[in-house]
């Protein structure tokens, strides 16, 4: 089996990303569930990178010529989904900021009013 340079790069990168996810779990920044999700993804990347022939069968069934094409398609789908998730959570965060800003502004005026009354 010939190992190409790109395979080495992908393997190194996947290991690096996986280790980051592990460190963040240990630091309790992400939950075990989230870590498992990322582990699954990076393990899949590792497997496909080391032996692309493995998914050749599956891609054949799906009508996609090369295994590597299947990997690219799945990655794009996954990316779209992740972007959507980020968009939704960003939107929720924006709403929370607005709520905070609103409450601060109302509280400030109320405090000023009560001072005036005194």
């Amino acid at each position: 089996m010939n190992i190409t340079i790109i395979q080495v790069i992908i393997v190194v990168f996947a290991l690096f990303a996986w280790s980051r996810a592990f460190l963040r779990m240990r630091g309790k920044d992400i939950s075990v569930g989230e870590f498992s999700f990322w582990s699954l993804i990076w393990i899949a990347v590792l497997i496909v990178a080391i032996s692309p022939g493995l998914i050749g069968g599956v891609s054949g069934i799906l009508g996609i010529g090369r295994g590597i094409d299947l990997a690219v398609y799945i990655s794009i789908l996954l990316l779209f989904y992740l972007v959507f998730r980020v968009y939704v959570s960003l939107d929720a965060q924006k709403n929370e900021i607005t709520k905070l800003v609103r409450e601060i502004s109302i509280r400030d005026v109320k405090i000023k009013d009560s001072k005036k009354k005194k």
Binding site: Y87, K94, R102, I106
Partner: protein, 224 residues
């Protein structure tokens, strides 16, 4: 009846004092200005003009600012809440006709319309507004002649029921949606919009802005 006038202001230092003094002269004393994180001196100018001024520490958009003003008015015991523009586009003279249908209890909310009487308006602005009317009809089945007029009068019930979640410009369409979803009794009242050079500069952008708003409306529909 406690009438509160809510004005959302973002960098309106040049016009806000005149708007406030006009309202005061007409006898409206509960004026709530929401300074939406302005970079100019809107806050102090409005304060000196005699309004209650709430300050957003960071800019959150017109929809968010209006909601803040409405929320404050409700907590302060308002019976009727008016939303009014800060750039001098709306005429104080139209207020009486806008408030009357709500005050009498016949309607929950009145919305100003500039198309109920003949009007001279720059072509692109007319086009943008007509697109908005179409969009509102398409999405919500609401027949209105002017979907994006910022001049509104609502009673307490309407103010409590209408839920504005859009922080930016699409709040105008959202209010129309809420009126229809929650079966509020509404009426369009003819008003005159003053197109001064100042208000044109401060206007709500052109067709591009309208398309942006449309895009956000569609995205919101998908998410919710």
């Amino acid at each position: 009846m406690n009438i509160f006038i809510v004005i959302a202001a973002y960098n309106e230092g040049k016009s806000i004092a005149k708007v406030i003094s006009g309202l005061k002269k007409a006898g409206y004393n509960n004026i709530v200005v929401v300074d939406d994180g302005s970079k100019d001196d809107t806050y102090h100018i409005a304060l000196n003009a005699g309004a209650t001024v709430l300050r957003h520490v960071v800019n959150r958009g017109q929809g968010a600012a209006l909601k803040t003003g409405i929320e404050y008015s409700l907590r302060s015991g308002a019976d009727i809440i008016v939303t009014f523009d800060a750039d001098g586009q709306h005429r104080v003279e139209d207020l009486k006709a806008m408030i009357a249908p709500v005050k009498s209890g016949q309607y929950d909310i009145t919305v100003g319309s500039r198309f109920l009487k003949p009007v001279d308006m720059p072509f692109f602005r007319r086009l943008t507004l007509k697109i908005a009317v179409f969009v509102v009809w398409f999405f919500y089945g609401a027949r209105m002649t002017d979907a994006h007029n910022g001049f509104r009068v609502m009673n307490r019930k309407a103010a409590q029921t209408i839920n504005i979640t859009s922080d930016r410009m699409e709040h105008a369409s959202q209010i129309v949606e809420e009126i229809h979803k929650k079966n509020l009794k509404f009426k369009e009242v003819p008003v005159t919009i003053l197109y001064t050079d100042y208000s044109m500069q401060h206007g709500h952008g052109g067709v591009l802005q309208a398309l942006k708003v449309l895009a956000r409306m569609i995205i919101r529909r998908i998410i919710e």
